[in-house]
Every structure is written in structure tokens, then in C-alpha cells.
């Protein structure tokens, strides 16, 4: 077994953390396609090497060399008019199966019902770096638009040739090509019949401008929604294979523990298999209860090692900051020290964020099957090709002997980048000689999955009496560098990220460090506004005074207008707060109203204004923005992993509070649809404004400034 099973303590920085891209070995050729598809029309999108590297592999040294010209996506139009589109992206609840289908329908001018997406299957779909970093919409959406528009041109050309007319006069619409002059019409299926056409296009076909979209840009219900409301959809834990048995893994008592001895004799039973490989121990049995019983009978002795605990976490992070450049060069301009000396209002504060868990409702799970030396694994992951590589390395087999299939998955939120369950299931399947299903328990999730990094952020700021920012210093310890730079105009700045060897396994999360950095920045902006002489300045006015970025100004103004900022005073015990920022080309501003009731904080109302360029599916986008705000409530108010000496203490939903129906405020969403700007992804950024807006509102209501996330795990203390 490789080290993949052990905890990894490196920060996985969104798209930076990934291993170099795999050279894709598929040799594009007409013959291969015809073998696969039998006939019809196929269009393949070639992404040139430079563009591929730029799109998905920033800061990856040596990446360009290892990345050949890539196939980005392909599309097949069958002889009966069915359209199948292949993409390596995974559906994890962010609704891209629907938004990508919508994009294809728009460009191809074909009915939605005729289009099927094959997603995230390493044997069928082109290589993809992974579904993370809000890259699907800016990248894959465009790629699928390109193949779809090329296919549309192909069928028009076929019709023109058949009718011996100029293609320019023909119209493609609703799955048909029409000749308005000659009164002829043929469906796409009829045009594809008897054809064996395969075309490669490079990403440069003209695309419809957003202003001309007719299908995209409008609400569209989930394309396979009926499968979900009837329980028909097969998630990974629902997959069943002939002869399949159930697996369980023996977990160490704490992080860093190593196995000293193992006595398996009590677990012996018919059809029960115990597998040991180094510190990895697991069992398989014909049913899950039998596997649990066998696991409970294993007698293992572990050697534990002392590890930090959550009560000393923030001191630990400060004391163990790394030097040596892994955090990148600090950003520095002017002199913060000089500017602070002459500032008329100053701030020096420390903010902290706790580790939190993604807690996707579908736990990590995999079904693994070995057949003829080939391994097939069904698993919920955001990186099917990454997991294929992990499996190939773990079992020392070539990647082409491994197939990873990702059923549409019960959420991830950045938490399913790794293939832990896949490797474990495959190891157990090898031992059992039968397919194995392994579904992590909630308790396993809460300890052995990775966490959103905890962090300490130190801020110093200075401003003139009129509210002009003059100094800004910002140090983030451990939680990460995304959105660490301030969008405000400040002549003197020093901004630095300090990596730390994390005491818990940590990794990606929805918007990752952008949440922590926005919490610290937007809370301290509020503090500075209030610290200005003569009774302070309105926090929104203070922000706008120091802000040139037009798109960010626009979302602040839109949120403020919808919220009624400055128009009314809050009721007794209530307060208003506002915060905003930029991340991954999305601009967000959130205004919040809170009520302090019996020393508890209740979020009453949230208004979020969002600009992610041209909007593709407003309904899906609103759903994401609502969901981001509601998920953000947990991390803002009460979610925190508590641990002691390498052991997670609150490893169940009964001990780890997540937002529920009764926590949800009224949420209003304002979309600034910028048809002139390419679409950015939107699943992550809307989460960043909630925590600071709520914290600022709590201060407004109570005069108490909360500088730690979660802010009120035990209520608001007087």
C-alpha cells in the first residue's frame, strides 16, 4: 500500500495542490470513434497544450511539458438523433449536468431531451483535472459550447450538400435543419444517418454572445430530477455488483497511531476475511452487520503519539509557522510602519477560524471490483482521474488497468478530492477475491476525512480622519492564501501567508481560505470604520470611499439598496451588517440583519448581491447562492471540530451542529447579470460574505465584536 492511506498534512490548495496532469493517451482517429459509436457524427475538442496548462494547472512547475494537446470533450450525434456528450466533470449537487446540458442545447439548437451527458468515467470521458475551483462554468461550459456549435455547423453543411444549396441560407432549430427558401426540412438524426463523420475542432469557433442565448440564461429544472424524487438514482453507496461483499476498515484510535499487534482469532467466521497490509486492517463479510461484528472482534494494539488539542490550536499555529517560502513571497508596497505612525485611526486585531467538516450527507464510499487484472471502482469524488492515478500507484498497475466511475454524488463541497475509500475498497476486494462495497460511517467521516483548515489572521490597519485607508497589514497562518489580497485601495501594504504543519488532516473546502480572509478583512474594515474620529463612519460609506473596482462597488450598492441600508434603524436588539469581496472572478456583497435573543444570535435576514458575469441558469445560480449562505451559517455561528491529543471529540451530528430548517433566515438574492462578461463559476464565492456580515451585525446590535469563527458556539457571552 502507498502512503495514500495515511493522513496527509499538506494543505491542498484548491487547484494548486494537484499532482501534474496526466498525459492523455487517447489517439484521436476516425476509426476509433466509429468503433465506439458505430456511425453518425462525432466532434472532438482539442485544447492546445498552452491553453490547457493555463486553464487548469496554474503554478504547476513542469506542468506544461507533461501536458500534451488535450482532448477536452467530445460529442456524438447518433443516427437516430440522440446526442451524447462526454465530459470528465463530476456532478456533486452543483447542478452542472443541467447547466452543461443547457449550454449544449443552446449551441446545437437541439431539444434538451435529446441530449445525454456521460460524466466522470475515466474509460469513457476525456481527461479532466477535477471538479473544483469553480472551473466548470468558465472552462467546461465553453468547451461543450464549442463542440456543440461545431456539430451544428456540420449538420448544416450536410444538409447544404444534400440539397445542393448554400449553407448560409439554412436554419438549424429544435433538432432540425430547414431551408426556408426551398421549404425542405431534415432532422439531425436523418442528416446523421449513413454518415461516419468525425471532426476535431480547436477552441476557436465563434460562439453565441450571451445576449443571444435562448435556452441558457433561463431557469431549467434538474435534467434527471425525477430519478431523485423517486429514489431511483443510484449513488455510490447504492451500487450493487454480482457476488459483492461488504467491507469495514479498522481505524486507529488517534492521528499518528501505529499498529503494534493484531489478533484476528476472535473474528474468524465463515465467509469473513481479514486483510492486513502494514497498518491497514480491514474485514469483508457477506453483509454489513457481519462485517461490523467481525471488525469489533479484532484485537489491535496501537502505539499512540502525543498531538496538539483544539484548546491550544491557535497558539500552536502561531508558534509553528514555517519559513522557507512555501507560503510564497509576501506582497509588499510602500511602508506600513510609516503609514501607521501618521494614521488617525488604527486597528490591530487577531481573528481565528476553527477546523470545520464538509459533512456531505453521502459519506465517502466506494465499490471496487477486480476482473482479469483490471480494477473498476465506483466512487464519489471530485477528481476521477486523480483517483485513478492514486489507485494505479497504490496497486502498482498501469493507469489503463483502472477505471473510475463517479455516479452523480451526494455532495462534496471540496471534501472529496481524494480516493481514500476507493483505495480501501480495492484493497479489500483484492483480499476477498470478490467485489467489495465500503461506506464510511459518519464517525469515520468526522475523523478520517480532511477538514477545512483552521487559521489565525493578524491585521493592522490605518486610516486618515476622513476615512482614507493608508496602511494595511495582513498575516494568515495556515488557513490559506485565496482572496488574501485586499480589493481596497491602500498605498502601504504588507500581506503574507504563513503555512503551518497542520495538527489535523486538512484540505479543500467550498471557497477554502477566502472565507477566513474575508471574515478577517471585512470585520476589520468594520472596526476601522467605527474607530474613525468623530463617531466613526457608516461601514458601507467607508468601504465605497476606498474602493475603485466597479464590479465590487456595484454589488455593494445592489445589496445595500435591496436591504434598505441606511434607510431605517434596526428594532431593539437587532443589528445590521454588510461585507463583500472578490474571489474566482465572482463579486459578492452580503448584508445581514441579526437579532440577539436571550444571548443567542438569530440571523433574521440576508441579502446577497452577486455578479459572476453572464448568468447561464439563474434558477440554479440562486439555489447555489442560497445554499452557500445557509452552509456559511454553520461555519459562521456554531461549527467547529473539537479534538484532543489527535482524537476528534465531536464526531457525530448529535455533537456537531449543522444548519437546520429553523436556523434559516429570509434570504434574498440579487443577480447582476453581466452579459458582456464571460461567466465565472458560482458554487463557492457567495459563501464568503455571510460570516463577516453577520459578525458586523452582531456588533451593531450588541456592541460585542466577535473575532473567532464560529462566533457563537455557546451563545453570545456578556
Amino acid at each position: 500500500m502507498s502512503a495514500n492511506l495515511g493522513p496527509q498534512f499538506e494543505i491542498e490548495f484548491e487547484r494548486y495542490e494537484l499532482s501534474a496532469g496526466l498525459p492523455y493517451h487517447f489517439e484521436f482517429g476516425r476509426r476509433e470513434f466509429l468503433k465506439v459509436f458505430g456511425g453518425g457524427v462525432a466532434v472532438v475538442l482539442i485544447v492546445p497544450r498552452a491553453a490547457a496548462a493555463q486553464e487548469s494547472g496554474r503554478r504547476q512547475r513542469g506542468f506544461e511539458e507533461s501536458m500534451p494537446a488535450e482532448i477536452g470533450a467530445w460529442l456524438h450525434l447518433s443516427e437516430n438523433g440522440a446526442v451524447t456528450v462526454f465530459t470528465g466533470k463530476a456532478e456533486v449537487g452543483q447542478n452542472i449536468r443541467t447547466s452543461l446540458t443547457q449550454a449544449v442545447a443552446e449551441e446545437l439548437r437541439a431539444p434538451l431531451g435529446s441530449i445525454q451527458l456521460v460524466m466522470a468515467d475515466t474509460e469513457k470521458t476525456p481527461f479532466d483535472m477535477g471538479t473544483f475551483g469553480s472551473r466548470t462554468t468558465p472552462q467546461m461550459n465553453l468547451q461543450l459550447r464549442r463542440v456543440a456549435s461545431a456539430c451544428r455547423d456540420l449538420v448544416i453543411a450536410l444538409a447544404a450538400k444534400g440539397w445542393n444549396v448554400d449553407a448560409k441560407g439554412l436554419v438549424a432549430e429544435d433538432g432540425e435543419v430547414r431551408d426556408p427558401a426551398g421549404g425542405k426540412v431534415l432532422s439531425y438524426g436523418e442528416l446523421a444517418r449513413g454518415q461516419a463523420l468525425a471532426k476535431a475542432v480547436v477552441a476557436e469557433d465563434p460562439l453565441l454572445p450571451a445576449s443571444a442565448w435562448t435556452v441558457a440564461g433561463k431557469p431549467l429544472p434538474k435534467v434527471n430530477g425525477e430519478d431523485f424524487v423517486t429514489g431511483r438514482h443510484i449513488y455510490t453507496p447504492d451500487v450493487k455488483r454480482p457476488g459483492m461483499v461488504y467491507g469495514k476498515v479498522l481505524r486507529p484510535p488517534s492521528y499518528g497511531a501505529t499498529l503494534e499487534s493484531l489478533d484476528t482469532s476472535a473474528a474468524a467466521a465463515p465467509n469473513v476475511i481479514v486483510a492486513r497490509d502494514g497498518d491497514f486492517v480491514g474485514v469483508t463479510a457477506p453483509s454489513e452487520p457481519q462485517a461490523e461484528q467481525a471488525l469489533a472482534k479484532l484485537e489491535a494494539k496501537w502505539k499512540t503519539v502525543p498531538r496538539p488539542s483544539s484548546r491550544e490550536l491557535f497558539q500552536y499555529l502561531k508558534a509553528n509557522a514555517e519559513t522557507g517560502g512555501r507560503g510564497g513571497e509576501p506582497f509588499e508596497t510602500g511602508s506600513v510602519e510609516e503609514a501607521l505612525k501618521s494614521a488617525e485611526a488604527r486597528l490591530e486585531q487577531t481573528y481565528t477560524v476553527a477546523y470545520i467538516q464538509h459533512a456531505p450527507l453521502e459519506p465517502r464510499a466506494a465499490v471496487a471490483e477486480w476482473s482479469g487484472g483490471k480494477l473498476t471502482v465506483w466512487t464519489g469524488t471530485q477528481r476521477p482521474f486523480g483517483v485513478r492515478l492514486e489507485l494505479a500507484e497504490a496497486f502498482r498497475i498501469p493507469e489503463d488497468r483502472v477505471r473510475v466511475i463517479v455516479p452523480d454524488t451526494g455532495a462534496a463541497y471540496g471534501g472529496k478530492h481524494t480516493g481514500d475509500a476507493a483505495i480501501e475498497a480495492a484493497r479489500l476486494a483484492k483480499a476477498a477475491g470478490q467485489p467489495v462495497k465500503l461506506v464510511w460511517t459518519r464517525e469515520e467521516e468526522f475523523t478520517w476525512a480532511y477538514f477545512r483548515p483552521a487559521g489565525v489572521i493578524e491585521v493592522r490597519g490605518g486610516a486618515r480622519a476622513d476615512g482614507t485607508l493608508t496602511a494595511w497589514e495582513f498575516h494568515n497562518y495556515n488557513s490559506g492564501p485565496s482572496a488574501i489580497r485586499t480589493p481596497y485601495e491602500v498605498p502601504n501594504q504588507r500581506i503574507e501567508f504563513h503555512p503551518v504543519k497542520s495538527p489535523l488532516r486538512q484540505g479543500s473546502y467550498r471557497a477554502l481560505a477566502a472565507t477566513a480572509n474575508h471574515f478577517a478583512r471585512e470585520s476589520s474594515m468594520d472596526e476601522l470604520a467605527h474607530a474613525l474620529p468623530h463617531g466613526g463612519m457608516d461601514p458601507l460609506e467607508f468601504r465605497l470611499k476606498n474602493l475603485k473596482d466597479e464590479r465590487l462597488r456595484a454589488v455593494f450598492q445592489a445589496a445595500a439598496e435591496k436591504f434598505g441600508w441606511g434607510k431605517s434603524q434596526p428594532a431593539a436588539g437587532h443589528g445590521f451588517g454588510i461585507a463583500g469581496g472578490v474571489e474566482k472572478n465572482g463579486y459578492v456583497a452580503t448584508a445581514a440583519e441579526v437579532a440577539i435573543e436571550d444571548n443567542n444570535v438569530r440571523v433574521v435576514r440576508v441579502v446577497t448581491a452577486f455578479d459572476c458575469g453572464a448568468v447561464i441558469n439563474p434558477d440554479g445560480l440562486k439555489n447555489q447562492i442560497m445554499g452557500a449562505n445557509i452552509m456559511g451559517l454553520g461555519g459562521a455561528l456554531f461549527e467547529a471540530i473539537e479534538f484532543e491529543n489527535g482524537r476528534v471529540l465531536n464526531n457525530r451530528f448529535s455533537k456537531y451542529r449543522v444548519p437546520r430548517f429553523r436556523d434559516v433566515p429570509a434570504i434574498e438574492v440579487v443577480l447582476l447579470d453581466r452579459k458582456d462578461i464571460p461567466s465565472a463559476g458560482a458554487g463557492e464565492t457567495p459563501i464568503v460574505g455571510l460570516a463577516p456580515a453577520v459578525g458586523n451585525a452582531v456588533f451593531h446590535a450588541s456592541g460585542t465584536r466577535l473575532r473567532s469563527l464560529p462566533m457563537v458556539p455557546n451563545g453570545l457571552k456578556a
Binding site: 429544472p221 430530477g225 452487520p289 452552509m631 457525530r652 451530528f653 430548517f661
Partner: protein, 159 residues
Amino acid sequence: MAKITELQVNGARCPIEADEATPLLVVLRDQLGLTGAKYGCGEGQCGACTVLLDSNPRHSCNTPVGKAAGHSITTIEGLAANGRLHPLQQAFLDSGAFQCAYCTSGMILTAAALLRVNPHPSEDEVRRFMNGNVCRCGTYPRIVEAILGAAETMAKNKS
């Protein structure tokens, strides 16, 4: 330990073979292939495993199969009648009341139990009744909208 050999599920008698202490969820999923009920926590905290036992919502993850035997069990697979979606299923579709949808079966069945005892719930009553069901994607507002919409549809269908 006593063996259970039969369950009444979705109107049919289903032969099974399980110790009485086995969680109902495991039997439904692994023996009867009814995978609409999901494992989410194993302690009745998230509601993803909800099924109806004589029309009452139960967490099948911590309901021993022995306690379910002899009762009428409804899973999400048995909610649609005569090939037509239940008004709640249709309302969840119409409202887009899910993202990853892993919680959806449990949400719909819990809501079905609510509407049976309270056909015209207020928004607040919906939130209170549904509070034991977690949607980690945060689609709560749409779920409330869907349940209120279904209540209206069902009232219309009756009149």
C-alpha cells in the same frame, strides 16, 4: 436472537432473513434493493433514512427490523401511485428543492407524514416538523416552498 422473515413494504409482503436487531435500513437497502432510503448518520440525527411506519416517519437507521415487522412500511419507491408522482414529489421537482438530492427521499417522506396529520401547515409548522432532516446543500427555503405547494395541490385534488 429471533429471526425476522417477512416485512410489509409498499403494499407487498417481502420475504427477508435478518436478526431482529438488524437496522431496518440495512434490510431495506441490502436485502430488498430499496436504496431510496439513505445512510447519513446512523443515529437518527439527519433524517436521510426516513421511511413511514404505518404512516409515521421513522429513522430506519436506528429502528430494529423486529420493531418494523407486522407494520406497514412505505419507502420513497412506494410513494408514487399508479405511475403518477405523489404531489410532494412533483412539488420538489417544480420548486427545484434539492441540489445533490441525497436527503430528498427522507425529506419527502417526512413531509408526507406532516401533511397527513396537518394538511394545511403554516411555514413555521413546516420548519418545526422538518427540523430533524438535514439538507447539507442548504436548500431548506425551497423545500419549505415545495411542501406548502404540495399541500395546496392536495387540497385542490380533494375538493
